[in-house]
């Protein structure tokens, strides 16, 4: 890959040898247009959660890149993701956010589709089409691949893409920190309340980069820390693990996923949290005990923000949420945020978490407001012809990565940067742009699925 050698996408736009990224990739309309084809039309994207569509006929209108899509459950209980566009003239066939329906009817000329995507209603089929339209060929466009991963629905438009499991690789262990129940039981998680949606005037990669594990910007949240919105009455969240754990940034070079984590010392119990509510505090203390029992040494790992390539942000704990950064032109992003809670959690816990989550995240959340202000003005101040000439630097911590990181008997998957003493690094951010450049350059998954070269079994399975 040219990017890996340091020349980068289009000769220097992403220059990993220097640790520099051109502002053009954030503000250039032509690059944005190319991203839609080379990145969003090929990568696996988060669409929604099965708990949003529990019954046959349930639907939730979501997005994949710029496309509006319908996540729905058909009468036979099968989950689908369809392009929300009538095959006749392209009108949206569903203009509600969510609901239950037997059919999706286009209001333009009246074509109607079942929840399995089949074209079931064509006005004047006998008279105007003389019964000759092949309705079987004109159903809703369905994604090429769909995966229900622990309740989370991911999809891709690319039939040639690797399976979701292969796309994830060992990063699955980190994704599980968000998607599995807190105590590791089988009762599952559910979306808490509705999905928050809002627009911000910046390129989608600003929030994506931020959630890769950019801890360098903590200074901008100092006012929230001072306000003490956290669930124990101080700071913005419970952070006692910082005092005792190794603080790591973890990247998956070949796949583009990355996250932060804390790893507690052997024998160190997870610090108490949620002191503002004895019920919630006790609940999580119990969950932590169960989690340790189930996962053993892996239970020492505490999640921190991460990013599933390209635009799915993970926030496994306090708040527990997934965000998707939908591209809406080079200069605008539509943010969607889902909040999660264990289905079996007591109602009092759910209520407490809901209040805390929206106090922290989303358009009215105090922490996310800080972030948005930064992204907004960083983007605006990077658009001018002069500003574009000057790249951003991502060289922080370059060369200090460790391939086989182990801490007190626990091997941590991925390439790791231990920032316990360093406080910060741009290791994970470089990984986002490394993978971004590879997607922008590669013409096929033969080039993108580099991990297959080391594992011929995967090549065989893919064929």
């Amino acid at each position: 890959m040219a990017a890996a050698m340091g020349t980068g996408y289009r000769a220097g736009l992403v220059d990993l040898a220097k640790g520099q990224v051109s502002r053009e990739i954030f503000v250039n309309d032509a690059i944005y247009a190319e991203e839609q084809e080379r990145l969003f039309a090929r990568a696996w994207l988060f669409v929604g959660h099965e708990s949003q569509i529990p019954n046959p006929g349930d639907f939730f209108v979501s997005g994949m890149g710029e496309e509006s899509v319908i996540l729905c459950r058909d009468r036979a209980n099968e989950i689908h993701v369809f392009l929300n566009s009538c095959r006749h003239r392209g009108m949206k066939v569903c203009r509600y956010d969510e609901g239950n329906t037997p059919v999706f009817t286009c209001p333009y000329h009246g074509w109607s589709y079942g929840t399995d995507g089949k074209l079931v209603g064509v006005p004047y089929f006998r008279e105007a089409y003389h019964s000759q339209l092949d309705r079987g060929q004109w159903g809703l466009v369905e994604v090429a691949q769909l995966c229900n991963y622990k309740g989370a629905i991911f999809a891709t438009w690319d039939a040639a893409a690797p399976s979701f499991s292969e796309y994830l690789g060992d990063f699955a262990r980190y994704l599980d920190l968000t998607l599995e129940t807190w105590e590791g039981g089988e009762s599952g998680v559910e979306v808490l309340g509705g999905v928050q949606k809002w627009l911000i005037p910046c390129n989608w990669k600003f929030p994506a980069e931020n959630f890769c594990g950019d801890s360098y910007h903590n200074i901008s949240h100092r006012s929230v820390d001072l306000a003490g919105i956290g669930p124990s009455g101080s700071g913005r969240r419970d952070m006692r693990e910082r005092e005792m754990a190794r603080r790591l940034q973890v990247s998956f070079y070949e796949r583009g996923h990355q996250t932060g984590v804390y790893v507690l010392p052997q024998g160190q119990p997870t610090p108490p949290a949620y002191a503002d509510s004895p019920v919630v505090s006790e609940y999580f203390a119990h969950c932590e005990q169960q989690r340790r029992r189930k996962y053993g040494e892996w239970g020492r790992v505490i999640g921190s923000p991460g990013e599933l390539f390209p635009n799915t942000a993970l926030h496994p704990r306090q708040p527990r949420t997934i965000a998707v950064w939908h591209p809406r032109g080079a200069h605008q992003t539509e943010c969607w945020r889902w909040y999660f809670v264990d289905k079996a959690a007591p109602q009092q816990v759910k209520d407490f978490l809901r209040d805390y989550y929206i106090r922290y995240s989303g358009p009215a959340g105090m922490t996310e407001q800080d972030d948005m202000e930064n992204w907004n003005y960083a983007h605006a101040a990077s658009r001018g012809v002069i500003a574009r000439r000057y790249p951003y630097t991502y060289e922080q911590g370059q060369g200090f990565e460790v391939a086989d990181y182990e801490y007190q008997g626990l091997r941590v998957p991925g390439t790791v940067m231990d920032i316990t003493e360093a406080k910060s690094s741009e290791h994970n951010l470089r990984n986002l742009y490394r993978r971004w450049a590879e997607f922008m350059e590669a013409d096929s998954w033969d080039e993108l699925a580099t991990w297959r070269r080391a594992d011929p079994g995967l090549v065989q399975a893919a064929e």
């Binding site: 037997p102 009817t105 109607s112 079931v120 209603g121």
Partner: protein
């Protein structure tokens, strides 16, 4: 000329007269303002459809039939 039928007001059990003279009974209504699911009770133009259930296009509905 009969009054334009608002399909959103059709409920299961109501009978509708179609522009070709057929009569059908509403089975369900997706409330999309475009279609209703109905079972043919009579169809002078095509008797073979009697008893079958079809999606009826709103523009094909001529009037609501009052059932005694």
């Amino acid at each position: 000329m009969s009054e334009l039928v608002n399909t959103r007001e059709l409920t299961p059990g109501m009978q509708i007269v179609l522009v070709d003279g057929a009569v059908a009974e509403v089975v369900s209504n997706p409330l999309d303002g475009v279609w209703v699911f109905a079972r043919y009770l009579s169809s002078p133009a095509d008797p073979s459809v009697v008893g079958s259930e079809e999606m009826i296009f709103a523009q094909d509905i001529s009037e609501i039939r009052t059932v005694d």
